[in-house]
C-alpha cells in the first residue's frame, strides 16, 4: 500500500490534513487530481509532497462525505479528466477545519515555545 510514503515531509500530520489541503485547493475552483497535487506542492514551495497514490483515496473519501462533487471534463491539454469541485457543505467544512487547524497550531506552539 503506497499510503505511508517516504517523501520529505509527509508523515501522519500531512495524512490528517490532506483533506483540508484538498478542500482549500478546491476553494479556488474546480480541478482534477493532478492539478490538486501540483497546487499543494507548489503552494507549499515543494515542502509538502502529495503522494499521488494517497491523493485519490482521499478524494474519494471526501466525496463520500459530500464535501466535494466530481464530474468528467476536459483538461488543459485536451485530455478527459475527472474534475472535483467544492460543495456548500465542503465550504463550511473548510472554514471549520481551518479554524480547528489554527487552534491546534497555536496549542502546539504554546507547548513548544512557552511565552
Amino acid at each position: 500500500m503506497p499510503k505511508r510514503g517516504n517523501a520529505p515531509i509527509q508523515g501522519e500530520l500531512l495524512q490528517g490534513t490532506l483533506d483540508l489541503l484538498i478542500l482549500k485547493t478546491l476553494a479556488l475552483g474546480p480541478a482534477h487530481g493532478h492539478t490538486i497535487a501540483y497546487a499543494i506542492e507548489h503552494r507549499s514551495e515543494d515542502v509538502l509532497q502529495v503522494e499521488h497514490g494517497s491523493l485519490y483515496p482521499a478524494l474519494h473519501r471526501i466525496e463520500d462525505r459530500g464535501w466535494i462533487s466530481s464530474f468528467w471534463g476536459t483538461s488543459e491539454n485536451n485530455r478527459r479528466a475527472r474534475y472535483y469541485r467544492l460543495t456548500p457543505e465542503g465550504r463550511k467544512q473548510l472554514t471549520e477545519q481551518t479554524n480547528r487547524w489554527d487552534e491546534i497550531v497555536r496549542a502546539i506552539n504554546r507547548v513548544l515555545r512557552p511565552a
Partner: protein, 368 residues
C-alpha cells in the same frame, strides 16, 4: 450514498481506473514539457503515482468497508435510541411485529389456497368441468354464480370422456337429520360413485362410498360421516359403523368415518350420501346441481381435455338441439376453479397488508 457505492463497486472501480489513467497522461504531458522522452515521461509518471492497482484496491475496500461501517453505526445508533426511549421502542417493535405477522398470515393463506389447496392426493391433476360461460343460455336452477351440470349432462359426459382417468360429481344439500318434530339441519354432500376413489381419500374407520353404491334403489343406502359428526353424534365410538341415520326422512346406514382433516369441498361437511338417492329429481333436464371434477390421465394436458369436452358438447348439442343450443363445456384447474371468486379479494388484501407493512417501516424509520 454509501449503499449505492457498495452495490456499484465494480462500476466505481472502472471509473477510478479511467481517472488514474487520465492522471498518468497529464503527468506524462508535464514531464514531456520538461524535456523528457515519451518513454521517460511515462515511466516517471508511473513511478510518481505508484501502484495503480493498489490505489484502486484501496478505494474498492473503502466502498465495501464504508458500507459495513455505516451499517454498524446505524445499528448502534438505533439500539441507543431505542434504549433511551423504551416506550417508543415497544410501540415500534410491536407495530413492526404486527405488520410482519399480518404479512405472514396473508402469505400462509395465499399459500394454502393457491399452492396446497386441497387435502387430497395430487390436487394439481384435478380439474373442474363446467358449462362454458358465466351466463350460459340455459334455463333452470343454478348452483352458485357459475353454471354447473344437470345430471343427464353429467352422465353423458362421464360416459364419453377419456381425458380423465376418473371423474366425479357432487351436489351440496343440507340434510335434515330429524325423524319428526323440529328439523336438525346438517351440511351434507350427494356424491357420485367415484368421488372418494378420484380424490384418493381413505377413511379413518369403515369404508368410503364406491361406484357400486352409485345405483338407484338401494335397500339400505350407505352414508359416510365426518370426524366431527362422529364425535358429536356417536361419541367417537367404533360402534357407529352400521348405525342408522335419518336424512330427509330416509334411513341410511353409516359405513365409514372420514379423517379429521377432510375438508373438501367445504370446510364443513358432516354427511355424505350417494347421488342416486335423489331419485327422479336427477332426471330433470333443467336442474343444474352437479359440480364435476376429474383427475387428468397421466400425460393428458388440460388443453387436450378441453378439446375433448368441446367435441362431446358439440355431440350433445346435435343430439338435443333445442335443450343444448349454444352449449359448450370447459375445464380449468381445480385450484383456479375454487379460488376463482376469492382470489382477487385475497390478493387485494395481501397488497393492503404489504402497504401497511411499508407504512410501519416508514413511520418507524422516521419517528426518532
Amino acid at each position: 450514498m454509501s449503499l449505492k457505492r457498495f452495490l456499484r463497486r465494480s462500476r466505481w472501480d472502472d471509473e477510478r481506473a479511467r481517472e488514474l489513467e487520465a492522471h498518468l497522461a497529464i503527468e506524462s504531458d508535464a514531464n514531456l514539457a520538461r524535456g523528457m522522452t515519451p518513454q521517460q515521461a511515462r515511466d516517471a509518471a508511473r513511478r510518481k503515482l505508484g501502484n495503480t492497482t493498489l490505489v484502486r484496491e484501496e478505494i474498492y475496500r473503502m466502498n465495501t468497508i464504508a458500507f459495513l461501517e455505516a451499517l454498524i453505526q446505524d445499528l448502534r445508533h438505533g439500539i441507543r435510541l431505542l434504549r433511551l426511549n423504551p416506550g417508543f421502542a415497544a410501540v415500534a417493535i410491536l407495530s413492526l411485529a404486527l405488520g410482519v405477522g399480518a404479512n405472514a398470515t396473508m402469505f400462509q393463506l395465499l399459500n394454502a389456497l393457491r399452492i396446497r389447496t386441497l387435502p387430497v392426493a395430487q390436487p394439481e391433476q384435478l380439474a373442474a368441468v363446467r358449462i362454458a360461460g358465466d351466463n350460459p343460455n340455459r334455463s333452470g336452477s343454478f348452483n352458485g354464480r357459475h353454471a354447473v351440470l344437470t345430471n343427464p349432462l353429467w352422465e353423458r359426459i362421464r360416459d364419453r370422456q377419456e381425458a380423465f382417468s376418473s371423474v366425479f360429481a357432487w351436489a351440496s344439500p343440507e340434510f335434515d337429520l330429524s325423524t319428526g318434530g323440529e328439523s336438525r339441519p346438517v351440511d351434507g354432500l350427494w356424491v357420485s360413485g367415484d368421488f372418494f376413489t378420484t380424490l384418493e381419500v381413505v377413511p379413518m374407520l369403515g369404508r368410503v362410498l364406491t361406484s357400486t353404491d352409485d345405483r338407484r334403489g338401494c335397500a339400505s343406502p350407505p352414508a359416510v360421516i365426518s370426524y366431527g359428526f362422529w364425535q358429536r353424534q356417536f361419541g367417537g365410538s367404533a360402534s357407529a359403523l352400521g348405525r342408522t341415520v335419518t336424512l330427509d326422512g330416509e334411513s341410511y346406514s353409516v359405513v365409514g368415518v372420514l379423517a379429521r382433516d377432510f375438508t373438501y369441498p367445504r370446510a364443513r361437511v358432516d354427511m355424505i350420501a350417494t347421488l342416486p338417492m335423489l331419485g327422479s329429481y336427477l332426471d330433470l333436464r333443467q336442474v343444474h346441481l352437479l359440480t364435476s371434477i376429474g383427475r387428468l390421465r397421466p400425460g393428458v394436458t388440460l388443453e387436450a381435455a378441453q378439446r375433448e369436452l368441446v367435441s362431446i358438447a358439440a355431440q350433445l348439442e346435435q343430439e338435443h338441439p333445442r335443450e343444448n343450443a349454444g352449449f359448450s363445456v370447459t375445464t380449468r384447474p381445480l385450484a383456479t376453479d375454487l379460488l376463482g371468486d376469492v382470489r382477487r379479494p385475497i390478493l387485494v388484501l395481501f397488497g393492503a397488508v404489504c402497504v401497511v407493512a411499508l407504512q410501519h417501516l416508514a413511520t418507524t424509520a422516521g419517528s426518532p
